[in-house]
Amino acid sequence: MKKWSRLEFDRVMLPHLDRAYKLASWLLRHQHDAEDAVQQSYLKAFRGFDQYSDGDSGAWILKIVRNTCINRLNQRRRSANIISLNMVNDVNHDSDRHESAITPQALQKSPEQSVLDQQTKKAVWECIDALAFEFREVIILREFLGLNYEEIAKTTDIPIGTVMSRLSRARKQLRQHLASFDKEYKHHEL
């Protein structure tokens, strides 16, 4: 087994920090939790760095981040009846599949515009949040982290064929969600 140094760990793993944070934030929907989860994941990764085999470092660290987030979501569910006062105001922190609260006004602007207004973005975010976890994570990994199918498969431990079918279903659901809130989307069959 190859022996890695701290310098090598930093060189190989720290470049993925931004994507690690984005993944954790999208999955946990709570930025402070995400920061903690990333820190925890990097510590775990460092402790288990001997098991890293000089392959796809991005998928390796993102898989650890994903698993850490899943553990945190499970812990949240277990303690869902206890909500600390200082987390009450954080959006969606205690819900893995919360009900969307999109208003029809949220999608007034055309999606073709180059800069989406904040309301439209919020509507898109809530549509993504409304997806089941297995669909949400493939959309996040593909659209926001830019992973290819092979990298998504490694990160989520599912076959490439499943990645493809989940992506396809996730996109269909997103289009349905968005269309249901805005006639313009329906008109454009987006």
């Binding site: 720290l14 510590l43 600390s84 006062l85 199918y149 992506l167 997103l174 968005l178 069959e189």
Partner: protein, 265 residues
């Protein structure tokens, strides 16, 4: 290629996952089929919308805070393994044998059969160092059960597990970065423990509410290379333990007591 075959390949076409040959075949079909072309256009629009809907950006401080955690972990391990009092035990005995032997040593060294609170806390401190950092194992003796440098994470975690809400402060700027916390049992009660670092040293700060605990007379000296400092303020009683000077522990406690000088024990 018919519509069913083409539509099954629209996602990989969009994601540039098709071979040149397959991509060409699908595009040829799209040119001849308005229905599939519309479908593909809608998919591209969704993709464009998503790309423009980026939601999160890592804070500038993330890289430094991750590095700091790694530094502390790395240096903390070195610090533990280089502790002259028991490093030979770490390398030559199982951790269980080492822990048992050390606890017996601690108990015999201190004041007879009745174990004072401070002695018990010192034992807990040593146990926590032996067991390293192991998050997500709440029932195992560990140094850190909730790993975070943030008050808003550590405080509610502790508050759910003890019958009071302990004060939690991140003192990174003062040279005491908060590593996390855990819960320990003392006299059949759950008490809160905040874990801080000082250079390469680990500090356990035990916090309880003032009630049945009486301050034991610890006769004013450090024990076996460890400093123990205790103080009371408001509803709380604090014990700080580490292999650093009493003055430094005093400084840590002063941030909790608003400058009230703690008593070196």
């Amino acid at each position: 290629m018919n519509c069913n075959e083409a539509q099954a390949l629209l996602d990989p076409l969009l994601d540039s996952e098709l071979s040149k040959h397959d991509a060409h075949a699908v595009q040829t079909h799209l040119q001849a089929c308005p229905h599939c072309q519309d479908e593909f256009t809608a998919m591209k629009k969704l993709h464009d919308t998503l790309v423009l809907s980026e939601r999160y950006a890592a804070p500038n401080t993330l890289s430094s805070s991750v590095k700091e955690q790694l530094d502390i972990y790395e240096f903390g391990l070195q610090s533990v393994s280089k502790n002259t009092r028991w490093s030979w035990l770490i390398t030559t005995h199982s951790s269980a044998a080492m822990l048992g032997g050390w606890l017996i040593f601690v108990l015999l060294t201190f004041n007879g059969s009745a174990v004072p609170v401070n002695d018990e806390l010192l034992t807990l401190h040593i146990k926590s160092l032996v067991h390293d950092i192991a998050v997500e194992e709440p029932n195992k003796a560990v140094l850190i059960q909730v790993q975070s440098s943030k008050q808003h994470t550590v405080k509610p975690w502790l508050s759910r597990r003890v019958d009071f809400s302990p004060p939690v402060i991140n003192l990174s700027e003062q040279g005491f970065p908060l590593l996390g916390g855990r819960v320990e049992q003392l006299n059949d009660r759950n008490i809160a423990v905040l874990v801080y670092a000082r250079r390469k040293h680990i500090i356990n700060l035990f916090v309880d509410v003032k009630r049945e605990h009486k301050q034991e007379n610890f006769s004013g000296h450090s024990k076996n290379g460890y400093s123990i400092v205790s103080t009371q303020k408001g509803d709380f009683i604090y014990w700080a333990i580490a292999d650093i000077s009493i003055e430094e522990l005093n400084e840590l406690l002063s941030y909790f007591t608003g400058g009230v000088t703690a008593t070196g024990l």
